[in-house]
Structure formats: C-alpha cells, structure tokens
Amino acid sequence: MADETILLGAVAYDAKVVPIWEGIREHFRGQHVPMDFCLFSNYERQVESLLAGHIDIAWNTPLAHVRVKRRTQGKSLSLGMRDSDRDFKARIVVRKDAGIKSLPDLHGKTLAVGSRDSTQARILPLHFLRAQGVDLSSVKLLPFDTDVGKHGDTGTSELDVLKALHEGRAQAGAVGDLIWVLEQAAGRVDTGKLQVLWTTPGFDHCMFDALPGANAAKLEAFKRGLFAMKWENPAHRRILELEGLKEWLPPREEGYASLTAALDEQGGW
C-alpha cells in the first residue's frame, strides 16, 4: 500500500523554518491530513529531489519554480502561494548625495546588488534596468553573494545592500520592496540619506510545486489543509507570521514571465 503521507520539501534558510513546518504539520494532523517535511540546504537539491520523485511537493522560490516549470516542459502543478508573494517589486535605492536623478545617471556609478540567485535583489532588477535602457556594462556592480543556494530567502544580501548604501560604499542599490518597506517601518532606514530612484514592475514570488504525475488525492488534501489556516486562529497566526503571510492564495503563473525572460537573457537557467 502506498504511503498516504504527503512529503514536502522546504529549504532551511533560517532556524525558524523548523517551527514553521512543525507547526504546519501539527495543523495538518488536526485536519487529518498526514504530512511530513524534509529540509534541504539549497533549492538546487530540492528541485532535483522533486524531479526525481523523492518528495511530493516543494516549497519553491520563484527561481526554483520557473526551473521546475522548464524542466517539466511547463506541466508541473502549482498548488498555492502566500498573499505576500504576489506583485512583488524591487526598488532601486540611491544615496541622496550621489546626484542620481534618473536611471541614466546610474552610468559610472556603483550599484550594490544581492546574491546572484536572488530574484528580487539581483536577477530582476538588472533585467528591468536593462529593459529601461540602462547600459549595465557602464555600471559598476557591488555584489553581495551571501547565502547562495537560498535564492535570496534570507534577505541577508539585501540588508548588505542597504548597509553599503548607508555607509557610502555604493551610490545605488537594488533591494526587494518588502525588505525596503519593512526596514523603514522598523525605523532602520535613514531617510535623510537614502531615497527611492525607481521601482520595477511587479512579479510573483514563492510557489508550492508538484510533478504532473503526482497523487491527486494527496495534492487535494494538501490544498485543503493549507487553505484552512486562518490568521484569526492564534496557533495558525504564530506560524503565518513566521512564514510572512496573512493568507494562503491559489496559484497564478503570469507573475513569473519576467523572471523567465531574465533567465533567458542572463543565461541563468
């Protein structure tokens, strides 16, 4: 008899990943949905494990998601995402004293960017800047390749970008909208020094992925359990807060078109 337990993969980008998935597993148990998880240290191995059928579902970054889509010829199944994964943007933040008033002013300046596998702090900002006519060969990049393999999940490289901007090691920097706004809301940005130059178009973030041939009953049970989590429930809220969402939402694909284009252009597959 086949194991009914849904095996989910997630990347351990932070110690909180353990209480998050322990909490979700507990919630699923209450919903009579057997679920277990295994943690990977990087998204590359998680993607390979999903493709090899070792896990049923992968909780993927956008980069891992589009790679799974490509590797399955577009047939992989998308199960759900966080409310906070939709309409993500990236910001080009500049020092007020750098004299950068428009995108062409970036030429000849230092642009701090996040990890090479960070969608929001590197891949898409560079893609969108190029689309806006910025000649990237005449911009000096200051990359922060921290936590490679985690696809920018830790946010460390974005905090590095902000730090470099505050300290004047870069005149401009690319950060995700969420980090930029949350750092401000927490009072950690000196708005006397930094300001937004430009905001990228929207794109979508993480996704639960499964293979096209996956056990349909398992996937249905997973979605039922997932969408039963409510912010108003204190036990759920603790987990949702840790995972950075208020509500799980159904999937949508159109938010990943720009990333696919960026990977084609940058040879990032």
Partner: protein, 414 residues
C-alpha cells in the same frame, strides 16, 4: 472608534522617516473598514505606503493629485490584527483633595464579570491586539477573583505600612526572667512559622489570577509584604533579650502544609484568612494583653492591625463568592472537613505553644500565677471558638454549620 474618515497631512515626510508615525496612530483610531485620507508631498511614499498596506492588509483605495503638488491617498483600514475593544478617550482621572486612590481607578475602569485569558497582562481597559498567547490563569471571573472593596483595602494597606526596623523602640526592651524570656521566644517562633505560611499561600494564587483583577493581586502583594514584616519583627523579638527561637511542632507543620497544598483560591481565603488569621486576631490580642513590656505589646498591636485587614479581605472575598455561587457553602464545608481528616490524630494545641502562652499570661513561673495563666489560656480557646462562630455566621453559614466548622478547625489556630 469610528468608521468615519480621518484625514492627516504628512507633508513631505518620507515613508520611513516620519510618515508612518502619523499614519499608524491615525489608523488606530479607525474601526476596520474606516477610511484614512493621507495628504503627502512625497511621490515615492505613495508606492511604499501601497506595499506596506499590502503587508498589513489595509486597502489603498486611490491616490489623486491634490492642489499644490500634493497627493491625496485614501486607505481603508483592514481587519487583520486590529486591536479589540473600545478606545479609552473620555477618561480623565481627576484627583480629589490632591489624591488619586486605587478605588478611584477601579470606579473609573470597573471590573468585567469575567476575563479572557487571551488578554494576558494587558492592563484593564487596553485594546488588545489578537493573536497573543493564552495565559495560564484559572481565576477568571469576578465572583471568585475580586470582592467589591478590594481597591479600598489595597489603599488602606498601602497607607498602613510600617517598618520593623525603625518604628519599633527596640532599645526600650528590658531583660526578663529566663523562663519568661524562653516562653516569649517560643510564642514568637510559633507566630513566625504561621506567618511564613501566610506569606506563601497567597503567592500561589497571584499567578493564577487573571490580570484584569489586578487590584486583588495588588492587595495580596501588600498582604505578603505585611507577612514578610511580621516574620521579621517576630523573629527579632524572639531573639532580643536572649529568649531565642524555640520548637517547631509537627502539628503546626502538618496544619500549615494542608494550607499550602490548597488549589482553590476561595477555599484558601476561607481556611487561611477567615478561620486562620481570624483566630490569630484573638491570639494576638491575648499576647498584647499579657505582654511583659510595652514594646512587645506595640509589636503585636501593629501586627493585629494588619491581620484585621487580611481577615477583612478574606471575609469580603468569601462572602462575595458565596453570594454568586451557592455551591460554595458545601465546598467550603467540605474543605474544612477534608483538612480536619488530614490532621486527625494531630492532638491538641502543640504543647510548647500551650505552655509558653500559659507562662506568658502568668508573667513567670510562680505556681499561683501559672494557675491563672492556665485559666487565661483555657479562656483564650473559648474566645477563639466564639469569634470563629461569629465570623462563620457573618459569612452566611447556619448556626449548626458554624458550630461544627469551628469545632473542626485546626488545633494549630492557623
């Protein structure tokens, strides 16, 4: 709170450089669904406010150009995480005669009939953000948590505090004959041991009491400070003049152990304060009456004034609980019977306590005086019983119940 729109002007404040410090408090004044109009001259702030609204689950309705290069943003407050409860905005606590008593505060922000353990340590009247943990408090209803005069008793307790170091005229104590000195040491040893239980027993209930009824915790804190002082002053008196501390009896230990293991706040108030501390009032009066010197009389007089307040609180608590919950009579009676069964075979008043109280009343060891001391001690037992019966009647027990419960009371007095 209001559903009407509120408008604020954030000038050219950046989003993370002051704008939020105006936006967040304004949103706090609105009910979920209420609309906030924000006027800003910061072009990027509009977009940043949009992201922030998404994170916080507010809705950015529209952003329109206003006159003079400003933008008018309309936000609809979301319901996620909105603190629950009414805004306290018409409460202006006024001093009377220059004073603000805890009772004034309670009158202004009265107790609710019951409290939600999910509000934790939120002060009464605070709006509580949902999603906090459930606290392990088990005394969550007014009937069992707080009698009506608790704040007045707390006010009285605070102004009646005294100092066992500087308020007692220690230097005026004169040497006593050795047997009397020893008897005095034994009496105060016994008092201190009982005071220790009176310090520990209330402490067990503070953490179980819902913080909504904080005045009860505050009163218990004063009671514990009183007991701490009594332990201090009694042990000092035992040792000044060389009487020394005496014997701790197994009966006393068993009796006090049976108080410490109580799990119900009202049962504990009944057994400790109404019956135990009530009986101690007569004991302290006896010691005062037979005190060998004025300083010793002063010490027990001060302690008795404090104990009177503890008994008063215990009576108020028990009567309040009884008036809301008639099953309490049977429960309290059962508690007395159960304790009595635990103490069965413990014998009478511990011998060292009996003898020291006799010698104290005799003022020495002269046989004729000891005979009188013995009668005084027997009389004390009578007075204690009569007064216990009166307190039980006052609490609403029938005369027959009062007689039985008083008879079943511990030979240890407390």
């Amino acid at each position: 709170m209001t559903n009407a729109a509120i408008a604020i002007d954030t000038g050219d404040l950046p989003f993370g450089g002051g704008m939020l410090a105006l936006v967040r408090p304004a949103l706090d004044l609105l009910e979920p669904g209420g609309v906030l109009a924000v006027l800003t001259r910061q072009s990027h702030a509009i977009d940043e406010l949009g992201t922030w609204c998404k994170v916080e689950r507010h809705e950015l309705l529209e952003a329109t150009a206003d006159q003079g290069g400003a933008t008018r943003i309309l936000l609809r407050k979301g319901s996620f995480g909105a603190p629950r409860g009414a805004i306290e905005d018409n409460l202006d606590l006024k001093p009377h005669g220059g004073r603000i008593e805890a009772a004034d505060m309670l009158a202004a922000v009265p107790f609710a009939p019951s409290a939600d353990p999910g509000t934790g340590f939120a002060p009464r009247g605070a709006r509580v953000e949902p999603g906090g943990p459930v606290y392990p408090c088990t005394i969550n209803d007014l009937a069992h948590a707080a009698p009506p005069d608790v704040a007045q008793l707390y006010d009285q307790a605070v102004s009646a505090q005294w100092n066992a170091d500087t308020d007692i005229e220690w230097a005026r104590i004169k040497p006593l004959p050795r047997p009397l000195q020893r008897a005095l040491g034994q009496v105060f040893t016994f008092l201190a041991e009982n005071e220790l239980s009176a310090l520990y027993v209330p402490s067990r209930f503070i953490a179980r009491l819902h913080p909504h009824y904080v005045e009860t915790a505050q009163f218990l804190a004063t009671q514990m400070a009183d007991e701490a002082r009594h332990i201090d002053v009694f042990l000092k008196r035992a040792r000044v003049g060389g009487g020394g501390v005496g014997i701790s009896h197994a009966t006393t230990s068993a009796s006090l152990h049976s108080l410490l293991t109580l799990e119900d706040f009202t049962e504990a108030a009944f057994l400790l304060s109404v019956l135990g501390e009530g009986t101690f009032l007569d004991l302290l009066r006896y010691i005062e009456m037979h005190a060998p010197d004025e300083v010793t009389a002063d010490i027990v007089r001060r302690a008795r004034a404090d104990e009177t307040r503890h008994v008063h609180f215990g009576m108020s608590h028990v009567k309040h609980a009884l008036s809301h919950d008639h099953t309490m009579y049977a429960r309290l009676e059962a508690a007395v019977r159960k304790r009595s069964a635990t103490l069965a075979g413990a014998g009478g008043v511990p011998y060292a306590v009996q003898d020291s109280l006799t010698i104290l009343a005799a003022g020495g060891t002269d046989p004729a005086a000891v005979a009188k001391g013995h009668s005084a001690f027997r009389e004390l037992m009578e007075v204690m019983h009569e007064n216990r019966v009166k307190r039980l009647l006052n609490a609403g027990f029938s005369p027959a119940q009062a007689q039985t419960l008083s008879d079943l009371h511990t030979p240890n007095f407390m």
